[in-house]
Amino acid sequence: MYTILIVDDEANLRLLYEKELSREGYAVEIAATGKEALEKFTATPPHLVVLDIKMPGMDGLELMNKLLALNNRMPVIISSAYASYKDNFSTWSADAYVVKSSDLGELKATIRGILEQRYGASR
């Protein structure tokens, strides 16, 4: 079973992701801030991280760099309300950039694709 770490400052979104991704069969860890994310990351290393960019305190990009510093092979998906960051080169370090939508289909498919690619066959 894969573990996914979700980082988002919105409580309701965290709840949604947890519900839906659990349904997909993943173990879901959630963090509200960059700091919390780092703690959980070191405590329970996930297989994949999904993080938001716009967060108070440490923003998503800074967090991403820190996480990659700890493990530079960690797959990272940026899930953001902003489409403009797609063109920002600093987001290219991420493995994927998904614009938030009420239809989580794209996110789910992207997660599946990267896990397969990185870790081989599912589950």
Partner: protein, 869 residues
Amino acid sequence: MEATGNHDDSARANASAEICLDLSGRIVSAVGIVAPLIGNDIAAAIGRPIFDFVAAESQGNFIDAFQRALGGARVPNGSFRFTASGDPLRLEFVSTAGQSDQPASSAVCLRDVTVAQREKDINTLSRDLFNSALDELREGVIVYDADFHVTQINDALISALGLESLPPEALETASLARGFPGLVPDAAEFQQIIESGREHHTVARVRTARGIDTNLILNLYPVRDATGRVAQVVETVHEFAADQETAGRLQQLYRRQQEKVRILSVLNKLSNDFAVSTDEEELYPRITRTLVWGLGLHDTVAVLSIRNPDTGQLTLRSLFGLDTWPFELLMDKPPEVPEFTVIGEEMERLVPHLFELGLRSAIYAPIIVEGQNAGWINIFHRSREPQISEEETLVRILTENLKHFIRRWNAERLLREKVLTLLILRQVSDALQVGKSRDHIAYTFLTGVTAEEGVGFNRAFLFLLEDEEERLSGAMAVGPATPFEAGEIWNRLRREGNDFSDLLTDFDKIESLTKTELNTRVRACEISWNPDSQFFNAFESKSPHILHRSEVTDDGERQALEQLGCEDFVIAPLFATDRPLGVLVADNMITRTPIRGEDLRFLELMCKAGQAALENIKLYEELQSKIESLKRSNVLMQEHRARLAQLERLGAVGEMATTVAHEIRNPLVVIGGFARSLFSDLAPEDASRKYLQIIIDEVARLETVVTDLLDFAKPMTPRFRAVPIRDLIQQSVSIVEPEFNDAGVRIVTRLVRPSVLAWVDPDQIKHVLLNLMQNALNAMPGGGRLTIFARTGKEMLHIGLRDNGCGIPAENLEKIFEPFFTTRSAGTGLGLPIVQKIIRSHGGRISVKSVVGRGTTFLMSLPYGEMKI
């Protein structure tokens, strides 16, 4: 208070106005033409002090005269200025106190004797002339008026009778009759002469004042005035020795008397004419005519010739008594004789040609003005000699008078010329200020220069500098083909009372005048700069000067002058402040009048006015073109500003939109996300699923809005590639084709060759096409046709989408590209603004045409190229 009745009566008769004043100078009454003294409102003047109406400079003298009159002294007529009138008036001050026919409070009366005085002056003048003529005569003459008063008595008679010592008052009818019985006719005789109009001859023996008895022949001749009434009687008194009485001699004497009287009446008449005449054209014929009539109609020929002060040429001005040619023979004197000449016997020898004409004697009298011969009065007789010795005297007197007249006339002529010059200058200056184009100005200027005979020139040509001052090019010519034409314009102006500026406003009608032969010729003249060029050297001299064609060495110039027919001409340089502008050439080819110094000065003045105007026009034209280009820039700037404003608005919208969109997006994700989650949690049969679906759909719709907004707001830099446009369009069509087919809308394409490449961001253009096609589909709910066409233009590729849908109302056509404008219930209204933004960032344009009920066409242009195969 001294005042004689006689004095008052005659004075009153001669006054044109009478104002009575009281002791303090207040006006008591005013009778007659008083307006020049006290103005038109007589009622208001009564009661006011007269001094209010006297001009400042005359106050002193006036008060003086008034006080003296009050004191009873006899005040000589003085000249005073009044504020109501311009010229000074001659006034007589008379004390009136105590007179019964004057108002009670009247102390002094003012009489305006200006007119009477003037008449008296004129009379005095002619009187003086007449007297001097009389005094020349050797016979005694007494002249009586119709009332038998002596008005003239000449020196010859005074000395013959020994009357020198007598006071003038004694020389009147009664005392003469008393002192010299027989000299003066008695009253009855006189009356008969007046009534019958017939001459009367008598003889008398009279004792002179020195006690000498003299035999006298007395002849009385009535002289008629213009009405035919006998106004005067002339008495000639001739002495004769008793032992020399012969009938023949008497006859001769009578005849001579008659002639003398004729002479006197001639002189009398002419003396008046000289004093008042202002027109030589009228005067000269009158002189010759009077001479001939006065001296003997059948016998005399009188010739008056005057020398032209400019040319020195003698011209015949008047001839009377001969109606055969040749006139010129009569004008000048034969060279062998001295100046003033009387020719009798030598006529045949000296002037045989005149002798052949039947003339037997001649008097040649020169008119000398300022030491120069200014003309001749010549008198010829068909009898042997000049008939009377007094003729010579008569002629001398005439020449003397003519001399004065000519001098005055010349002075007036010069003055008239100067006045005319100034008048022309003023009119032309005024017109030059109004002139609106270079042709107007040139035409005005040249017409001013060719003004009128005596002032200005016959013809004028204007050459202007072109090509950075390397070339003089003929611009305009004003010149008559005949002298008549020249005066025509000015005469017409005078007749019609027009201003020169009126002439200019009719310029278009007169434009045909500028299409003359002369004008065509001058416009063909071109003179290039070279060191010998006289025309270009004119700029060195800076003022007009005279040249002759033979002095011109440069071939080009020579040719030009030949073409224009110039021989003697004036050349004047024209400057615009310091820069040379052109040259003016003028000549007198028609009249061949020599060019004088005054003409050059006149030209200089005209040039100053003309060059200022020409420069103004040049500046004006430059200004006009600058204004035009500024206007154009301004229009462009307006467009830019509008676009900038729009961009700013969009920018603001964009910023706001971005923030709002992001704030909205997260909640939407939560709402929609959970709705979907719940949806999949519920069993398929669960009715609540339906409602969850609604929530899902609505959220999806909202998300679209957010995406659109963010798309619109973000700056999308196109990534350009050379793309075959045909393929791109066909791809877009295939995407929507299924939807179109379902809706019953047919797509027709008319596209360019596959080799045509558009320089575009293909994704963005696809977005544009899809958006426009979607709009077209929405406009044809019941089906229709969409035509997509593409064609290559000179620089741009044009793509059009034409549908036959419902169309867009005219008032909305401008707004459809504005953000958030929508007529549909769904949609953000951002579709077309985004399309426009994309097209513009491609360097293209998009426009729309529509007719309600017929359809809409969108047309856009994009940069393109051809693929080289």
